[in-house]
């Protein structure tokens, strides 16, 4: 009785599907043009998660300019980023997958490469388009089996953002060390504003991980951070405890609404001078009115231990291709084009302009903010991605839970770290 309903439904679904197809036969063929990869001919499908209207039209420009070159045909298919994230494993394992997909390099791409779901594109990396790419970028796009599986396109940076006019009005200077930073927080508090905005409420709890990432990079170094996220260290180690000791020093200066507001609302709070500054990625500029962008500036996350080389967070976006694609040669041609300075400039021109090109010869949008950001990443000794990109999408929720609990009850840090380690262990051992 319990098992019979699904079989009935399955039968009805099948019968309904067949019935509908039989009733209106001949129409299926007309709708197959969308997915494009039915046969080995036809255009290359690019499945994109850049669904905001501006980014979407920038991607369309990029695809159009590739089609105009005449070396191949491509087709853009945009899916809501949230849908894309949950459906990505389905796309890659499907028998008839999209050819090319937007996603992240490093550990995330590697986890798919290990399952043989990604196309090996090592041969195109020796082509002239890739001549200027740095060793760090090459490492990022290489799987643990030593194959190149990714083509990077753009990256962005994280920094502590503030309003220039407010800092000028209050006579404040950009800090470089942790002590200066805490002093700055004190001064901001005396002006009656919450010194540090966060934006880890709503559905953007992951924003809090940026603080963990940066403190860990500054206290323990980038390599320790990566090893920790890969499961080579434990979250209840004394090194991690030191990270939270530092965080506790800054915690009294956090906006009490930090875990209630989503980052987009936290951005509004920063622009309205209700908070003094905010550690955030440059994508937040999309949520700011255009006339206020000139008033925004940032500084590097303060130095805590001068012995540790300065690493920065520079999350890279780009493309990988499905291993099951039916037109390998065409996909590789398209990926080569995506790596050119020309292609990356077209995208940056059409998008909101805070992204940086990965091709070193490509021009950025040229604003003062972007120039400063590019200099920040280029001077960094090492570049990390972000918590979820350096680990996996599965580990991110454990961090969200732990950090949200820490922000609410910092005194319970020992039990929080024990729980975090236990939750993370379950994911690493999968």
């Amino acid at each position: 009785m319990i098992t019979s309903p699904p079989s009935r439904r399955g039968f009805l679904t099948g019968a309904g599907a067949i019935g509908a197809a039989a009733l209106m036969s001949g129409c299926v063929a007309s709708s197959s043009g969308g997915s494009g990869s039915q046969s080995s001919g036809g255009p290359v499908t690019l499945q994109s998660n850049l669904s905001s209207p501006q980014a979407k039209s920038a991607m369309q420009n990029l695809v159009d300019s590739y089609n105009k070159r005449g070396s191949g045909k491509a087709e853009l298919n945009t899916v809501a980023s949230e849908t894309f994230r949950t459906q990505l494993p389905t796309y890659l394992t499907s028998a008839n997958p999209p050819d090319l997909l937007t996603w992240y390099p490093g550990s995330v791409a590697n986890s798919y490469a290990k399952k043989d779901l990604l196309l090996d594109v090592s041969d195109i990396w020796s082509k002239p388009e890739f001549a200027g790419y740095s060793a760090a970028q090459q490492r990022l796009c290489t799987s643990s089996a030593g194959k190149k599986v990714f083509v990077p396109a753009t990256y962005y940076w994280w920094g502590v953002f503030y309003r220039k006019s407010n800092f000028a009005k209050w006579g404040l200077q950009e800090p470089t060390t942790w002590d200066e930073f805490l002093g700055l927080c004190d001064k901001l508090k005396s002006k009656g504003v919450a010194p540090i905005g966060l934006g880890a409420g709503g559905n953007t709890a992951w924003v809090a991980s940026s603080w963990f990432d940066y403190l860990n990079i500054r206290v323990n170094g980038a390599q320790y951070h990566r090893d920790l996220l890969a499961g080579k260290h434990r979250f209840d180690d004394p090194e991690v405890r030191k990270v939270f000791d530092r965080w506790s020093e800054a915690l009294p200066y956090f906006d009490p609404n930090g875990t209630a507001l989503a980052f987009q609302d936290a951005t509004t709070a920063l622009l309205q001078s209700r908070t003094g500054m905010m550690l955030i990625g440059t994508f937040f500029a999309d949520a700011a009115p255009k006339d206020q962008l000139d008033d925004i500036d940032f500084f590097r996350f303060p130095v805590i231990d001068p012995e540790i080389p300065l690493a920065e967070e520079g999350p890279t976006d780009g493309y990988f291709a499905s291993a099951h694609t039916r037109h390998k040669a065409e996909v590789k041609d398209f990926m080569r084009y995506m790596a050119t300075a020309e292609a990356q400039e077209i995208y940056i021109k059409g998008s909101s302009g805070t992204a940086l090109p990965t091709n070193p010869t490509a021009k950025d949008s040229g604003t003062a903010l972007v120039k400063k950001g590019r200099a920040l990443i280029e001077s960094a000794s090492d570049v990390t991605q972000f918590f979820n990109r350096d680990s996996s999408d599965a580990l991110q929720p454990t961090a969200d839970t732990a950090l949200t609990r820490f922000l609410a009850k910092p005194k319970q840090i020992d039990s929080i770290l024990t729980t975090w380690q236990r939750d993370a262990q379950k994911i690493w051992s999968q």
Binding site: R9, G16, N77, Y91, P98, T268, Q272
Partner: protein
């Protein structure tokens, strides 16, 4: 407000039944009760309408206004650009057509199949018909989520994945059970004498179904029409399960597409929601009478 109508006669009648005692304080307390009722009901309806008003107001604001002043502030701008962006840039035009291409055939096909099945199950002594009906009811109690992956794989196997036919098939398959259950209950209440009279006049089963039962079942069909249209039109789960291409997505999925990776333009999303709500509101207003009647279908025998 239709709610006040039933309560008015009862208070009058009660008043008339006990005239001597309540005459002294009756009108005063009744006035208070009426005032309390109206204040309470108004507060409730305001509370209920608030989200809708918020969406309507947000849809006419500019994004810079929302970003500078916050989503909850009073509007500082008025523009219909959000609607244009949702309709043109957001691809809602194509999505609305897709939604219609799915909803209308699905409603017609599933009601046709369901009415035939209900006719047979309610008017003829078929073996195992109780078991069959219980199965259909049991199927409705099952959460559809557990069948997402089987359905996705099945459509791929049948070569229907990423086409609107897959969506129509799935929607028909999942709807028919419930529609049969409701229609069967309704058709069972039609007197057997009508059927017998038609049989004496020489009507076969097909004629019985077409000429006798279907016209009599019209109220139930109209109610189900409105209900199923709303369900199918508002469905998101199956659409993103069996479709992949953005040009195939129905309006609910395209609404999701309006959200950005990091930043969401709330004015465009609100405008898109307003556009997406229009067809269901039209259908509801058109079928309102049947809709309310349909809610108590089978409640009274």
């Amino acid at each position: 407000m239709t709610v006040t109508q039933p309560s008015a006669p009862t208070t009058v009648r009660k008043d008339r039944a006990t005239p001597p005692r309540s005459r002294a304080n009756g009108p005063v307390s009744r006035k208070w009760a009426t005032a309390g009722f109206h204040i309470g009901a108004s507060a409730l309806s305001v509370l209920w309408l608030l989200p809708i008003v918020l969406v309507l107001v947000t849809s006419t604001r500019s994004f810079d206004d929302i970003a500078a002043n916050g989503l909850g502030s009073l509007p500082h701008s008025f523009t219909l650009d959000g609607f244009r962006q949702a309709w043109v840039d957001g691809g809602q035009e194509r999505a609305l057509i897709n939604s219609m291409l799915v909803s209308v055939p699905t409603v017609l096909l599933s009601l046709l199949l369901a009415s035939m099945a209900a006719f047979a199950l309610s008017r003829y002594e078929l073996p195992l018909r109780r078991t069959l009906l219980l199965l259909m009811l049991g199927g409705n109690l099952l959460p559809p989520q557990i069948l997402l992956i089987p359905v996705s794989k099945l459509t791929e196997l049948l070569g229907l994945y990423d086409s609107l036919y897959a969506l129509i098939g799935v929607q028909v398959g999942f709807g028919v059970g419930f529609y049969v259950f409701v229609l069967q209950g309704f058709m069972r209440a039609i007197p057997a004498e009508i059927q017998q009279a038609a049989v004496i006049d020489g009507a076969g089963p097909w004629q019985l179904y077409r000429r006798i039962i279907m016209p009599l079942a019209r109220p139930a069909l109209a109610a189900l029409c409105a209900l199923s249209f709303t369900w199918i039109f508002n469905d998101l789960l199956w659409a993103i399960t069996v479709l992949r291409t953005d040009s195939q997505m129905p309006i609910t999925a395209s609404l999701l597409n309006l959200q950005g990776q990091y930043v969401s333009m709330w004015n465009v999303i609100a405008a898109g929601s307003v556009i997406a709500a229009v067809p269901t509101v039209i259908v509801f207003l058109r079928f309102q009478r049947h809709f309310v009647a349909g809610l108590n279908l089978g409640a009274v025998k």
